[in-house]
């Protein structure tokens, strides 16, 4: 995304373009949060407080499993798909709408390649929380932080986006382990508290 959006923000006003990207990320995250939160509410209406027990069992178990894959402890094929945000959107939709749509698409979290298995636990947790506010908070923060990470990378890259991409790619494995370790700690925290 840095390699795609970086050169594009040189075309228009850089800060406006990046703001559209962040807005897209927040809206995308919030949108999927509303869907998951609402379906979670329906599930809570159907099974009542049993959902809280399901949450405390399923979410930590999923986090443990995802953490094991992200840390490289569990040698199974990660769940992912090959779809990426279409590079043609800024051409077909227009400059700023295209950049907004990229943010929206990435903010959804589950429509593009899954870099970390721990990411898959977020929509699961948002659904099983059975609470609209919680679901939106979980997914909107994901969308916002993912977009802000792109903004941070583009802002610090200068004009050398290829070098920025290389630098990011060299950190993918340590980042994956950091995410896995975080998921492990959070799994323990949910069980303990």
């Amino acid at each position: 995304m840095v390699g795609q959006i970086g050169p594009l923000v040189q075309v228009g006003r850089k800060k406006t373009a990046l703001a559209f990207h962040v807005l897209g990320g927040v809206v995308g995250g919030a949108a999927i949060g509303v869907v998951l939160g609402f379906t979670g509410l329906l599930l809570r209406a159907a099974i009542g407080d049993t959902l809280d027990t399901v949450f405390v069992v399923v979410v930590p178990a999923a986090l443990l499993s995802a953490a094991a894959v992200d840390l490289g402890v569990l040698p199974v094929r990660p769940i992912t798909w090959e779809r990426q945000t279409p590079g043609s959107w800024p051409c077909s939709m227009g400059h700023y709408p295209g950049i907004f749509a990229w943010g929206f698409d990435l903010g959804l979290g589950i429509t593009t390649r899954i870099p970390y298995q721990s990411l898959l636990v977020l929509p699961l947790a948002a659904f099983l929380a059975g609470d609209l506010g919680t679901a939106v908070a979980i997914t909107a923060v994901y969308g916002a932080s993912r977009a802000l990470a792109v903004v941070a990378a583009v802002s610090t890259a200068g004009d050398d986006y290829a070098a920025a991409c290389d630098a990011i790619q060299s950190r993918v494995l340590p980042l994956k382990r950091a995410v896995g370790a975080t998921a492990l700690v959070i799994s323990a925290l949910i069980v303990i508290f």
Binding site: M1, V2, Q4, R44, D49, L51, D52, F55, V59, L63, Q84, T85, L106, T112, R113, P115, Y116, S118, L119, L122, A125, A129, G130, D131, G133, T134, V136, A137, I138, T139, A140, V141, Y142, G143, A144, S145, R146, L148, A149, V150, V151, A152, A153, S155, T156, G158, C165, I168, Q169, R171, V172, L175, K176, A178, V179, T182, I186, L189, I190, F193
Partner: protein, 56 residues
């Protein structure tokens, strides 16, 4: 140096925003699962989101 400072600032801003969202969702909405699970899950969202900039 200026770039590192800007990067740290943006990451810090994201972290503050995320934690504020967690506090709002956990404190105001009083979710059935409890405030702490909401807080830690929003923190995980933050970590995963910020770590995913390299993804296409």
């Amino acid at each position: 140096m200026a770039n590192s400072a800007r990067l740290s600032g943006l990451v810090g801003l994201a972290a503050l925003t995320g934690l504020a969202a967690a506090a709002l969702a956990g404190g105001v909405a009083k979710p059935a699962i409890g405030a702490l699970p909401v807080f830690v899950l929003v923190s995980l969202s933050l970590v995963v989101g910020l770590s995913t900039a390299a993804s296409p």
